[in-house]
């Protein structure tokens, strides 16, 4: 066995493995920065899923048919499951769920801005499935190729399930856009409110994204925020237009040369304002999570106490 390798040698070996397309697994050597960035990204992603249960969960009681009610419960349940898979991926990096959740509840952890906007009509449920989950799928499909094994595996599992979310939302909006005048108006109103927040989900423009370069070098991410955003716009704009819905962007046009649908300026001030905690629903979302956590504490303690006694009894 050779002498202990230097940091540079280990780093070179690590990067060579990534270049070869190998997955990095828990237990493998990795630079501290890689671990730190992954914990940041994965835990934010996990928190987003869990907080994301709230805006849609709010409409489970109001679902207009038994079938829609079951579908929506299943979808919000999947989001809980996705949060669970992602906390698991983060835990493989040496943090535990207790500390991740504590950081969320203390307001120290971020989660996707999109969930700080309110759901105001039933059509929002369809629009979230189609538009918001559509944007999420773009990102997640990329992350399924991530160099970190547990993150990639969680993403493959999530992508397989997320297609259902997308399709049920698209089905709803397609029906409502061709439905009664009130339904049509609901669908348009939902698009008006969710369009820009959904485009912001891809993150700040590449020029302002501080992490992108490192993350791409280590193949945590494969594409930049702007690349993904543009791909998504190109794919979804024609779909909305085909339903006769209007995109709330007077500057939107098709560029023959690049083949891109080009949007007007995104209000990044709003993006940063919401990230800093001043979106319409930030306080309410965290409060709902805190309440569930605090009101559930006695339950978690009771089952732990029971399990401890059982273990002691079986040892005696």
């Amino acid at each position: 066995m050779s002498e202990e390798k230097t940091y540079e040698e280990k780093l070179a070996e690590f990067e060579a493995r990534i270049q070869r397309g190998e997955k990095i697994e828990p237990g493998d050597w990795m630079p501290d920065e890689y671990r730190r960035q992954l914990i940041r990204m994965i835990s934010q992603h996990a928190h987003s899923e869990v907080v994301g249960m709230l805006p849609e969960g709010a409409w489970i009681p109001h679902a207009p048919t038994l079938r829609r009610k079951m579908i929506l419960i299943a979808k919000v349940q999947d989001e809980g499951g996705h949060g669970q898979y992602l906390y698991h991926a983060a835990e493989s990096l040496g943090v535990d769920r207790e500390e991740l959740i504590a950081a969320l509840l203390a307001g120290k952890a971020k989660y996707s801005n999109i969930f700080n906007y309110p759901t105001l009509t039933w059509a929002d449920i369809g629009m979230i499935g189609w538009l918001v989950d559509g944007a999420a799928i773009k990102n997640q499909t990329m992350l399924a190729h991530s160099s970190y094994g547990p993150y990639s595996r969680a993403m493959v599992r999530i992508c397989a399930e997320e297609t259902f979310h997308y399709k049920q939302g698209k089905e709803m909006i397609t029906i409502y856009a061709k439905g009664t005048p009130e339904q049509r108006q609901m669908a348009q109103d939902a698009l008006d409110r969710w369009w820009w927040p959904a485009l912001m989900m891809f993150g700040p423009p590449d020029s302002q994204s501080i992490h992108t370069k490192t993350l791409m070098r280590w193949k945590v991410k494969i594409k930049t925020n702007d690349q993904l955003r543009q791909e998504f716009i190109n794919e979804i704009v024609p779909e909305f237009l085909a339903l006769g819905l209007k995109i709330p962007d007077p500057d939107l046009h098709y560029d023959e040369e690049t083949g891109n649908w080009v949007i007007g300026p995104i209000d990044w001030d709003e993006f940063w304002r919401v990230i800093r905690g001043n979106g319409p629903m930030n306080r309410d979302r965290l409060e709902a999570r805190r309440r569930a956590h605090e009101e559930g504490a006695w339950v978690r303690e009771a089952l732990e106490a029971y399990a401890q006694r059982q273990r002691q009894a079986s040892m005696n």
């Binding site: 066995m1 697994e25 535990d96 049920q168 794919e235 303690e301």
Partner: protein, 189 residues
């Protein structure tokens, strides 16, 4: 208030069909084995298909990557009393870098006196790897709680009736085809 608990972690191994091996699909948090098994079902069998589930405390699962085996001199060394009893150890590994939703796959059993010894025997035997194993997991039989065949109708088959959670239940493609993305190609539906 006392320290928060999210309960300990349990590794979950899922078998899709009787003729397929168990695969490591992820973890659940649970206070004890019985609850862990139910949680594993609710988290990992929301959709078909499943024939059997195993759960084991995460702390009981011995894991080594190929990188660790290579860079940890004498990794197999341990103080093991000669008279330590043998038991069955389940050997899992990962032999591909293809995209996947499972970490490792069950490849067989070994009689040994410890997880380390089981892994060393498994590697030495050469019978558990075709070309290369990137990751190894060893789980003692005594740490596993499993569903049984009578559980299949109540635990796993009902997922098949929830057809609405399958994307193929809905019509329409995921994204517009490339040929339909230009303004002149858009037809009002």
């Amino acid at each position: 208030m006392t320290r928060d608990t999210q309960w300990p972690r349990w590794e979950v191994f899922k078998q899709d069909r009787p003729d397929r091996p168990h695969e490591a699909v992820g973890t659940v948090h649970a206070p004890d084995a019985d609850v862990a098994l139910l949680n594993a079902r609710d988290v990992y069998v929301r959709r078909p298909s499943c024939y059997s589930l195993w759960v084991a405390p995460e702390s009981a699962v011995f894991k080594m990557t190929a990188y660790e085996l290579e860079t940890t001199p004498n990794w197999w060394k341990e103080d093991l009393p000669e008279e330590a009893p043998e038991e069955t150890y389940h050997i899992f590994n990962k032999q591909t870098q293809r995209r996947s939703m499972v970490a490792v796959t069950h490849v067989g059993n070994i009689q040994a006196r410890s997880s380390r010894e089981a892994l060393r025997k498994a590697i030495d035997s050469g019978q558990f790897v075709e070309k290369i194993a990137y990751m190894w997991w060893v789980v003692p039989e005594s740490a596993i709680t499993r569903s049984n065949e009578e559980d299949v109708p109540s635990m796993f088959e009902p997922a098949e009736d929830k057809t609405y959670r399958d994307q193929s239940y809905y019509t329409g493609s995921v994204f517009a085809r490339r040929s339909q993305r230009r303004p002149e190609d858009i037809r009002l539906s």
